[in-house]
């Protein structure tokens, strides 16, 4: 921890070579301060997904540096990058991505299994987080017994269970109706208010406007950064 920013991207380039080289990201600098709430917008092909994969330690850049919680991701082995991802990043996906055969509680506790946390402690922690997202009574339900909004809340609980440096959400309301989406976004406000760093990737303006600032991507570059409000003044 310390005073390092949660995430720093320094002149990051990502090039895919499928015949002609494609520059998915072409020199991106971005800093996510601790406790900040950032939205990333851009049309398809602007590099949103690539940015997410890099920040989420799922991928490494072709050039440049990605630092998460003070650790340079590009220097890490695949194994250490996986560990860092498990410890410091919480993912929330558009399609929820819950394990269908596991209960809500088990889904929330899943990341802790890979950290070697003992069973009783896992259950305790999962219940605590489920309570926090308002699903204290749904722990024994499987994903197919939950509504879309509830599933996304389970996913958010799972993202929070390891107390990560960064919660990374990719179109978190994409599969939800407007009303449920708004409830989910309220939950992100709470997450942020609790001190977590949040990065939301979206193409919907009203979702992005919940953040402190919007980073606009275009053709693999940061087109502009649009400040919305001072950090800490979520609304």
């Amino acid at each position: 921890m310390g005073d390092d920013p949660a995430v720093t991207l320094g002149d990051v380039r990502k090039t895919y070579r499928v015949g002609e080289p494609v520059h998915a990201l072409d020199g991106v600098d971005l800093t996510l301060d601790r406790g900040s709430y950032t939205a990333v917008m851009g049309p398809s092909g602007s590099g949103k997904s690539t940015l997410m994969n890099l920040v989420g330690c799922l991928d490494t850049p072709t050039e440049g540096t990605v630092t998460v919680d003070g650790t340079d991701v590009t220097e890490l082995s695949d194994r250490d990058r996986t560990s860092l991802r498990g410890d410091e990043i919480g993912f929330v996906f558009q399609t929820f991505n819950l394990m269908p055969k596991l209960t809500a509680r088990e889904n929330v506790a899943l990341p802790l299994i890979f950290q070697g946390v003992p069973g009783s402690r896992r259950t305790e922690r999962a219940d605590e987080i489920l309570e926090r997202v308002g699903l204290g009574d749904r722990g024994d339900h499987r994903p197919n017994e939950l509504s879309g909004g509830q599933r996304q809340r389970v996913a958010i609980a799972r993202a929070l269970v390891t107390d990560p440096t960064l919660v990374l959400a990719d179109e978190p309301t994409g599969n939800l109706d407007t009303e449920t989406g708004a409830i989910i976004m309220d939950l992100f406000d709470e997450v942020r208010a609790a001190g977590n760093t949040v990065l939301v990737v979206t193409h919907e303006r009203h979702i992005a406007e919940r953040a402190d600032r919007i980073v606009h991507l275009l053709d693999g570059r940061v087109e502009r950064v649009e400040p919305l409000r001072d950090a800490g003044a979520a609304g």
């Binding site: 194994r79 996986t82 991802r85 498990g86 993912f91 991505n97 596991l102 299994i113 070697g116």
Partner: protein
């Protein structure tokens, strides 16, 4: 990730696809059950046959003369070469405990009162030592020099109202000769009494070669001869010495057998132990062959696991992506899938062993064999089951571990 966790998660996944897991396991169950059943049957068959023979047989030497390279079972192709004088001389040899002929009497029929039944084979002229007195259920052993006979239950049952001890029967041989004998004993089993007879249950009548065989054969020829001779050693330990003595005598000019053997026939002296080894060898080969076929079904079972695991990896690509996104190492994913395959293998092996044990029991009941379980095979079966699971899960698990989380999370 701890082993306990991977066991738990794998078990959840297996439980999540009950029908599929059951069918997959069934392949291994059938494979292991087939192996266990056939091995049990083989071991029981061996125990059944050898158990019948073994007692008192290991100090016997079976002697016959047949054309060289005859092959086949004991006594195959044997010709009449041994005289009563040879038998007497053998008896007098130092290392010989007993020597007696064994020769089938060619017969046409047996009569008990007005009840006449045809009998072509199964009348055996031998010495009293040939029959184990403990196997005589009723009456006693026949006596050399007397016109007596011992019947097995199958022979006794040939006549209406059975033949019992004290009855007289008339044995007719080709050439209108006949001989009357008194039944003095009934055996407790109809199984063959030695390797010359085979082990099947057939009607058999045992008579003293002297005088019955000598009298009947003497009517047709001046020098009645026996098909084979059985020499007994004092103990199984001295059987080799006894065999050497018997061979020395029979191949020497002093014996009548050496004349009749001439250059065309070869003398064979086989110990009971050797015959047992031969039988055991044949049974082992049969068991190995049948088990080999059963192993094929086990291989099919293994392919079934591999196939289902591959399908499972593809189907759960997204789940693999999720696990990797939340911090699962390649090794964790590998362990999960391997554990799942191993569990399927273990369940299959345990189920197969139980099923095989039951099937083996049923088969031995049906075949009327003493049940003898090859317990070491049970342990092997479980080991093989785990191995089958792990080996067939290896490639699918490796594929799962190598899955790129970015691709996997995008997978529909």
């Amino acid at each position: 990730m701890k082993l306990r966790e991977s066991l738990r998660l794998s078990w959840r996944s297996i439980r999540g696809h009950t029908l599929r897991s059951t069918l997959t396991t069934l392949g291994v169950v059938i494979g292991i059950a087939a192996v266990i059943t056939f091995v049990t049957l083989g071991v029981s068959l061996e125990a059944g046959i050898l158990g019948d023979v073994e007692t008192g047989d290991t100090n016997r030497i079976y002697v016959w003369g047949s054309p060289p390279d005859q092959g086949g079972g004991p006594g195959e192709g044997a010709e009449l070469v041994f005289t009563q004088r040879d038998v007497t001389e053998l008896r007098d040899l130092e290392d010989v405990a007993a020597a007696y002929p064994w020769t089938p009497l060619p017969t046409e029929s047996m009569a008990h009162g007005n009840d006449t039944v045809p009998i072509r084979q199964g009348v055996i002229a031998t010495g009293p030592e040939y029959l184990d007195s403990e196997q005589i259920d009723d009456g006693r052993q026949f006596t050399e020099g007397e016109h007596e006979a011992v019947l097995n239950p199958a022979a006794a049952a040939q006549f209406e109202g059975n033949v019992s001890v004290g009855d007289r029967i008339t044995v007719s041989v080709p050439g209108d000769s006949e001989v009357n004998v008194t039944v003095v004993g009934i055996l407790d089993t109809s199984e063959g009494q030695g390797p010359f007879e085979g082990f099947g249950e057939d009607p058999r009548v045992y008579l003293p070669a002297d005088p019955v065989y000598l009298d009947l054969a003497g009517e047709a020829t001046d020098d009645p001869r026996y098909l084979s001779v059985i020499v007994e050693a004092e103990s199984p330990r001295t059987v080799e010495t006894t065999r050497d003595s018997a061979r020395d005598y029979l191949t020497s000019n002093a014996s009548d057998a050496s004349d009749y053997l001439g250059d065309d026939l070869e003398l064979t002296l086989q110990t009971g132990g050797e015959l047992l080894d031969q039988i055991r060898d044949i049974l082992d080969r049969v068991t190995a062959f049948v088990t080999g076929i059963a192993v094929i079904s086990l291989v099919v079972g293994a392919i079934g696991i591999a196939n289902i695991m591959l399908v499972s990896v593809t189907e759960r690509t997204r789940e693999i992506g999720i696990m990797k996104a939340v911090g699962a190492q390649n090794r964790d994913v590998l362990t999960l899938f391997l554990t799942e395959a191993a569990i399927l293998g273990v369940i299959g092996a345990v189920g197969g062993t139980v099923l095989g044990a039951v099937a083996g029991w049923a088969a031995t009941e049906y075949a009327d064999l003493p049940l003898s379980y090859p317990f070491e095979w049970f342990a092997i079966a479980v080991g093989v089951g785990v191995l089958v699971g792990i080996v067939s899960g290896l490639y699918p698990a490796w594929r799962a571990a190598r899955t790129d989380p970015i691709e996997a999370l995008r997978y529909e």
